[in-house]
Symmetry: C2
């Protein structure tokens, strides 16, 4: 390698960019996801929730009586990894685990009044934060983004 070449390389580092990765949608998806995740985390942290536990709580609120196996399926996580999340939510009395009388292997998960209230507050805080980030997008653009993401996601299993 000539000294001239080496000099060029050093100069180029000043304007190093990630443009080469932008042809891969996954790269942009990950970065957008990271921004969103960081913001949501900060928004719900005051409520003692993480994105994971907030998602679980939200789905229990909106799907009363859901069994853990179904919840794990929706969240696309292993049942074993859901246990600790449920344990914490139950200890904090945000949800209840009651045996399903029809099938005593299953539990029915339900949010307590306290859980519903906390979920509402956390959801509002998260939505308020999200508003700030998406302020550069019009409502129509936001809805287009949501729709395209869902079609992309669903396109994988066709």
């Amino acid at each position: 390698m000539t000294q001239h070449t080496a000099k060029q390389e050093v100069e180029e580092t000043d304007c190093a960019s990630d443009e080469a990765m932008r042809e891969f949608l996954g790269y942009s998806l990950k970065r957008a996801y990271m921004v969103s995740h960081k913001n949501a985390s900060e928004a719900i942290e005051p409520f003692g929730l993480k994105v994971r536990s907030f998602s679980a709580l939200t789905l229990i609120v909106s799907n009363p009586g859901i069994p853990p196996s179904r919840l794990a399926e929706i969240l696309q996580i292993e049942r074993s990894n859901l246990v600790l999340i449920m344990d914490e939510l139950e200890t904090r009395e945000l949800i209840s685990r009651t045996r399903d009388p029809q099938d005593r292997r299953r539990f029915a998960l339900n949010a307590t009044l306290r859980g519903k209230r906390l979920q509402e507050k956390a959801a509002a805080a998260s939505a308020a934060r999200q508003e700030k980030i998406i302020s550069r997008l019009t409502t129509a653009e936001y809805e287009t983004l949501q729709a395209l993401l869902r079609r992309f996601e669903e396109g994988s299993d066709s």
Copy 2:
């Protein structure tokens, strides 16, 4: 809790959905990202690359002489976590680490011919896989998605 209520809850589990989480863009972002990441992983696995190492290699190819500190900055990972990735790429003779003569604290990272060729093949395989997923989107829609994702990402630091 009455038996009637319990019965309702059990019935509702059959149609349990994640609709309640869809108001949070991050949820859709994560799921789309997961689909994309899984596909990219499978596409480049035959080349002995992970998404992480492929991204690093791609950026080294497109930014000759880039120092590790700048690469870590672009990839938004800690310098310490980049070391093992570089070690592996160097061991496989896909990149070279040479001291920057202007600042002997730095390294200049460069892809070898072998590294460039592998990156090209892996990129082609990844792009081919991506094509399949995004086949439900028109070219215009795909570009809209990319543009909206970048605006969303950049909206966070304004």
